[in-house]
Symmetry: C2
Subunit: 267 residues, 2 copies
């Protein structure tokens, strides 16, 4: 097997990173994906940096052992905390949702005021601020942790009055500061897109990190001659650390297609 025919490794703390897998499948239909969701230890957003690093490295090593040509950190929390450690150990290119989302936001803002929403751990880490300022030091950034959005998405209350009130409360400081671009800094948030667009107003552009990282992956594969030349539709593989049935059910909703059998791995 030549390197270009190897799969792409994508990992997340749970099911949320499937929004990244979906964006990759749409943009790069010939690429095979190995997806890893750490469903036994989700959520990561409330854990210490030390623990997040430890778990993230375990997962990266598992995927590297399966022979992947690129690693994608689809979890914002792991990207915020462990991206450097993973890049240091991986012999293949490593992309992550934060670097990609930051790039997308800087490209789109006109008034150079960017809002970022995410989990507590992602926002506290300051990783989006750092990534954005590395590209354009003069941008103003307003960040807001939104810890209730993940449970609201998992409850399926995508357009419920409770979710609308919660979004109004969380987005208030960002709207007051006239951001014109809003980074959805958590893989669950794309499922709230219509409601967030409505609350933020039509002048605010939403940046979906899943789309952004898929676009960066396409560029990387072309630049490095790593694009899969095959024509058949690949059989993706899914690994989880717990509850494969629930993962399969939610995964099929997320992806809108049948999943191959999901395998359980103990790390």
């Amino acid at each position: 097997v030549t390197t270009d025919r190897l799969p792409i490794g994508v990992f997340d703390s749970g099911v949320g990173g499937l929004t990244v897998a979906r964006a990759l499948m749409q943009r790069l239909p010939r690429e095979k994906i190995l997806y890893f969701g750490d469903t036994a230890r989700v959520p990561y957003g409330i854990k210490s940096e030390e623990t997040i690093n430890h778990f993230a490295i375990q997962i990266a090593e598992f995927l590297l052992a399966q022979q992947v040509k690129v690693l994608i950190i689809a979890c914002n929390t792991m990207a915020a905390v462990a991206a450097r450690a993973i890049a240091e150990l991986a012999p293949v290119p490593v992309l992550d949702v934060i670097a990609a989302g930051a790039q997308g936001a800087v490209e789109r803002t006109r008034n150079r005021r960017i809002g970022v929403i995410g989990t507590l751990a992602t926002i506290r880490s300051g990783a989006y601020d750092l990534a954005i300022r590395r590209i354009d030091a003069g941008v103003e950034i307003v960040s807001q942790p939104c810890p209730l959005f993940v449970p609201l998405v998992e409850e399926g209350w995508f357009s419920h009055e409770v979710t609308r009130l919660t979004a109004q409360e969380y987005l208030k400081p960002l709207i007051a500061d006239s951001v014109d671009t809003l980074v959805l800094g958590c893989t669950h948030y794309p499922l709230l897109k219509p409601l967030l667009q409505e609350v933020a107003g039509p002048t605010v552009e939403l940046v979906d990190s899943a789309d952004a990282v898929a676009a960066r992956t396409e560029t990387l594969l072309l630049e490095h001659g790593l694009a899969n030349p095959g024509v058949s539709s690949p059989l993706h593989q899914f690994f989880v650390t717990d509850v494969p049935q629930r993962f399969q059910q939610i995964g099929e909703q997320f992806l809108g297609r049948t999943l191959a059998p999901v395998q359980v791995v103990r790390l």
Copy 2:
């Protein structure tokens, strides 16, 4: 050291079980408590039964190795799934919040219609139904999972409009069914008591499992001659698997007193 001078072991998936520790401290001020919170792997409510059993047994074995005279399962999810497995391995009496809460509810209901609220895993397990029917098979039970209450408590939105709307939505079927007793089947819920009382109405009596299990512990210690005869105020000990600083901060709010240094344990 004679058995009656040994501490009481209390464990939970995280910080929530401190409501049980607080109830024990108030009711049994001479008893020393060893508290274990599995903060690296919280929350348990979304994990499989197999994983919950595995983790619960690890924690019980850790506390038994520290020499405790009674084990209290302060986590509803672990009580629902792993109470029998723990009772089988423990050479000391094992109490849990579900058995105690069920007893309290049956004692208080007048119309024999009891409502139970809890996490998804607790409600799905049917453990409260089973425990209540074992005492009185003729009671009607209406159960409702409330997955948003824990994140709302952790956000500190105890009386926020969002929490009120969420409670109205969750409690609707219980109120429609005229329950006169409502079991708070999750250790976080006592912090929502005033709001839940208001939404449920003045004719509904709330049963707090933390109070209920503390009362059962007092009875058990007296019946078995296990009450600590000491007079000095004991130095409680706290073990967690991650982020001791955050645990200490939330714990001191929960308990309204300074915590002894919190130790980190890797299981």
